[in-house]
Amino acid sequence: MLQCTHSSSLRISPAMRHAVWLLLCIFACQVASVGQQAAAPDLEAQLKAQIAALPAEFQRELARRNPDIALPPTEDNRAALQDAIKFVLRVRNKPALYALALNSQRQKTADSASKDAVNKFKAEVDEARVDKQVGSDSSQSGSTSLTTKGSVPAILGFAVENGALESSTSGTSITFRGRPVQIIQALQKIGYNDSYQVIERNSSLGLLNRFAFGITFDTGRTNSTTFTGNANQISAFSVHVDLINHRDPRDKRYNDRWSTLRLGAAQEMANRLYVVADLLTSDTFTPTFNPWLEETAVQAATAWIKNDGSLTQVLETQFAKFPSPSGVPPSDDPSIAAFASATQTMLNARQDILSYVGTAPLVTFEYTDNKAAPAVAPAVALPDTSNFKVIAEFTPIKGGSFTSNGSVTIFNSQPATVAANRVRDAQFSSQVDVPVATSVPKLGNFVLSFSGKYEFIPDDVITAASATGTGTALKGNIAIGQAKLTIPVKGSGVKIPLSLTVSNRTELIKETNVRGNIGITFDLDSIVSRLKP
C-alpha cells in the first residue's frame, strides 16, 4: 500500500531560498544544449531494438508451427525451437538487422569517440516530454504545478506531491489521471502497441479517447495520513477533453512530409540496403552464413530453455560475430558504410518530422469538481466548487513548451456565510518549460520551468484554511511566480518536481509568501510500454 508522509509547513528560510535560486540558475546556464533532446536514434540503438524483439518473434513462429508446445520450453522441444529460430533469422527476413550488425562491427573499429558523442545525447524521449500533466492542478493541496499541462498520460499516471501553492494549507495529495479507453484495453490484455491500432480503426473509440479523467485524494482529510482510497479522502474529480491535438505523427496533415521522406531519404536508404541484402542472399554467402546460423540457433535455444533472461544477451553476442558477406571486414566494405550513412540520414529526417509534430498546438478543456472537506464543528461546511479551465500549449523552442491556462471557479451552491457572489475567482497563468541536457548517471534530461499566475477574487469568500477548518479568502488580486526543476529517474517513469514559489499574498493573508514544494510523479505509460509491448 502506498504511504505518504504529511508535512505541516514548507515555508523556507532566506538562506535556503537563496540556495534554491542558485541551484535553479546553475541549471538555467545549461539551457543552450536544449536542442539535443530531440536527437535522432542512432544505428546502435536500432540494432539493440531489433535484437530485443527477436525472442517475441521466435515465440510467435514456434506457436505457429507447434501450437501444442507449452512455454517455457524444455529440452524435449529443442529441435522445434531451433527450427523456429532459424526460420526467423533467415537472411531474406532480416536484411536490415544483419546490415545493422555489420555496421556495428564497422563502427567498433572506427573512432569510438564520435559514437560516444552520439550516445551521450541519446534521448529518453517519453521521459523528457514536457507536455504531460500527471499531478494535480494548483488549486489542490500539495500541488507542485502552477500551470496545468495539456496532455495526460495515455494509460494511467499518479502523483504524490507535498506542499501548497495557492492555498494557505500544506498537505499531501495523490492524483490519478488516465484515459478510460486505454485503461480498459490494458485490462483486456490488449498490448500497448496494438491499442493505438484498435483506436485508429474505430472512429468512435478515437472520439472517446479524447476524454481523460482524474481523481485526487487528500490524505490529510482523515485521521491517518495514510492513503486509503477512502471516499472521504477524495478532494477532486476532473474530466479532460482534447479539443485540438495534432501531436500524432500519423495525422493526415503530415502526409506531405512523410511523402517527401519516402521519395527522398527513405528510398536512398532502401537502395543502399538492397546492395547489402543482395550480398546476404547470394549463393556464395550461404556456406559462410549457415554455420553461423546453426551455432546461433543452438545457443539461442539453450538460453530459451534455461529461461534465465539471457536470450537477448546471447543473441547480441552472436550478432557481434556475424560474418561479412562481402569477404572483407565490414570496416573495409564500402557498401556497409554507404548503408550506414543513408540510414542515419533517414533517421535524422524522420526525427525532424517527429520534432515538428511535437510543436503542434494543443488546446484542451478541463472541468474539475472540487469536493470540500467535511466540516468539524464549530467550523462551517464549505460548498463544493467547479472549475472550468481552457489549456493552450505550443512550442516556441525546440524540445520546450509554452502553456497558458484561463479558468473560472464557481461555488456549486450559495455559501452559507461571507460570500455574496457565486463566482469564487478567475485565474490566468502561463508557464515555459525548457529541457536541460544533463550527463548525470541514471537521470534523464531535467526540465526547468518558469511560470506566473494572476488570480482575481471578486468578493471575500469562505475557503478551507486547514485540512478540516475554514477561513476567509480576501477580495483582491494575487500574483504568483514559480521556478520549478523536474528531475526524471531514467527508465522508471518517475519524476521528482522541486519548486520555489513566491506570491504577493495568499488567499488568506495579505503578506508576501515564499514556499518550497517537492513531489514525485509516476507515469504508467513508460512501464506498460516496456512490460507489455
Binding site: A52, A53, A56, R92, N93, N193, R250, A270
Partner: protein
C-alpha cells in the same frame, strides 16, 4: 507462382508471369519503399523475364512513423495462380524501420 521451402519470401515463377505486390493491410503509421533488381521501383506489378536475370530480387522496406504500435502486411501473387505469399512486418518498440528481401527464381 510457388513458395519454396514453405518460405513466403523464397518464391519461384514462370518466365513471363506477372507478379503483383500489394500492401494489403497497414496502419497509417507505415511507409514503404521498393527496390527491384537494384533499382528503385514504385510498387504495383512486374513481369518475370529470364533474359534479364534468372533470379529477381525485390527489397521491401518499411519505415515506422511512431516508436511503437505499427504493422503492415505484404501480399505477393502471380498471374498464373499458385501460392499467395503473405508476409507481416510487426514493429518492435523503438524500431524505426524493417525490411524483407524477396527472391523469385524464374523457371
Amino acid at each position: 507462382m510457388q513458395m519454396r521451402n514453405n518460405d513466403e519470401l523464397d518464391l519461384a515463377g514462370q518466365d513471363g508471369e506477372t507478379i503483383a505486390v500489394k500492401i494489403t493491410s497497414a496502419s497509417s503509421g507505415t511507409i514503404n519503399n521498393f527496390v527491384l533488381n537494384g533499382k528503385p521501383w514504385p510498387g504495383g506489378s512486374f513481369a518475370l523475364d529470364k533474359t534479364l536475370t534468372p533470379v529477381f530480387k525485390l527489397l521491401v522496406q518499411t519505415i515506422y512513423k511512431t516508436d511503437s504500435g505499427n504493422a503492415c502486411e505484404i501480399t505477393v501473387t502471380g498471374s498464373n495462380g499458385g501460392d499467395v505469399s503473405v508476409h507481416d512486418e510487426i514493429q518492435a518498440p523503438g524500431e524505426a524501420f524493417d525490411a524483407a528481401m524477396y527472391t523469385f527464381i524464374v523457371t
